[in-house]
Amino acid sequence: MFRNQYDSDITTWSPQGRLFQIEYATEAVKQGSAAVGLRSKTHAVLLALKRSSGELASYQKKLVKIDAHLGVAIAGLTSDARVLTTFMRTESMRSRLVFDRPIPVHRVVAAVGDKAQINTQRYGGRPYGVGLLVVGADDAGPHLYECNPNGTFYDYVAMSIGARSQSARTYLEKTYQGFADASLDDLIRHGLHALRDTLQQEKELTVLNTSIGIVGVGKPFEIVEGEELKRYLSLLDSTSNPAAPPAGSADAAMEDAPPAEGEPQVAVDTAAEERQAGDRMEE
């Protein structure tokens, strides 16, 4: 029934000092479609790839507005993301009600971290299966944070999460030095380039599958979708990914589309099996 003796209970350590349920939650984030975030001295932007379950279905929302100065991109279980974003909205409103102040970005992120950590230490529950990129602007300027299912959160200049997001990070690591002084359009262009690198071969960024979230010092958080995206997509020389890794490579194992019927869901299983093999070796 279990692949591993230490799989079932979130609070039970493996002898190697690991908590497998937390690692599986992290895998869930890697299966969500990609999201990219980056910031300059004046703005922070989010870019996300929306996914639809079929020709007849709409695209799943990837960006959520929390408050006038705050927005998030999600990767992983959408329903878990709804719990966390609702919580963030509550915290934002509480700050405005009690202190007449937009909540400082670090605080709402820390509150999410505290909430996620509880689920890694109490039995009977499970960690949130979602990762967040949070952008916001407050008195200290624009911010970008990443939140993980294990309760950690990090401050970034640029970051990506979700399926094939390593490709986006590779792009961001090569170009991040120009971000601080970049104009908003340049920032978005870099973000779109990074997002494009997460695409599978033959896929491209379109007005349907792309979402952009923009926030700045004195500029409220705004989600750009649909026809308005044309202006930003035209900043790219080509919307398809020129350097996409060939299908079947390790990265491509995380499929963007849900697996076809009958096809085994290999992503998590392979990872777990590899670990088991590793554990046996160590024993």
């Binding site: 009600l97 009690v98 202190f99 007449d100 102040r101 400082p104 670090h106 605080r107 407050d138 200290a140």
Partner: protein, 216 residues
């Protein structure tokens, strides 16, 4: 145990506040060296009229909030508007539970060029103005403050402001039977918060010689 008037005005460089140091037990002048103006963070002072123990409780609440703000260490600091909003929520919440904190609070501060002066009382009623006076001062001193300050908030000098508050406190000492002649004056400017040590007002009782008909 109750304290009487608190006065506060806006002036050129920021805000200035004054209050005396008496805690009365009914009409008995019970404690003559109590302080009713407190600093709250780097940009704010809060002055209180009314029940002294409730005011001490409010000081504890503020300390709790400010300690949390300090250890969060994310570069944000509560300004006068934030502290005013917090206190107004506390005061209104307590009145809504039929257990009000029996005070009339004046919140004053200066942060990033923004002068703030606000009032909140035991009912959670709030307002902001360029002059505020509580207790007996709201009847006797407020008209004097308004006449001197309104429309001149950016012109009144520090010397002028101090004289206005001292004159008003002196008049209250003459006419308010719960007032005292030892006062503290606080100011908040771009330089930060200063609250003076208690000092005695100068007084002139020569007019007493001419008062007739009170058994003298």
């Amino acid at each position: 145990m109750t304290g009487t008037s608190v006065l506060a005005i806006k002036y050129k460089d920021g805000i200035m506040m004054a209050g005396d140091t008496l805690s009365s037990y009914g009409s008995l002048a019970r404690f003559r060296d109590t302080r009713r103006i407190v600093q709250a963070g780097d940009y704010t002072v809060v002055g209180a009229t009314g029940e002294v123990s409730d005011y001490q409780h409010i000081k504890h609440l503020l300390e709790e909030v400010l300690i949390e703000e300090y250890y969060t260490e994310d570069g944000h600091k509560l300004g006068p508007r934030n502290i005013f909003e917090y206190l107004s929520r506390v005061m209104y919440n307590r009145r809504s539970n039929f257990n009000p904190l029996w005070n009339y609070l004046v919140v004053a501060g200066f942060k990033e060029g923004d002068k703030f002066l606000g009032y909140v009382d035991l009912r959670g009623t709030t307002y902001q103005a360029s002059t505020i006076a509580t207790g007996y001062g709201s009847m006797i001193a407020q008209p004097l403050l308004r006449k001197a300050v309104e429309g001149r908030e950016n012109e009144v000098t520090e010397e002028e402001a101090l004289k206005l508050l001292e004159d008003s406190m002196r008049i209250l000492w003459y006419r308010d039977a719960r007032a005292w002649d030892k006062i503290q004056v606080a100011k908040v400017t771009s330089e930060g918060v200063t609250i003076s040590e208690p000092y005695k007002l100068t007084t002139d009782w020569t007019v007493g010689e001419y008062v007739k008909g009170y058994g003298a």
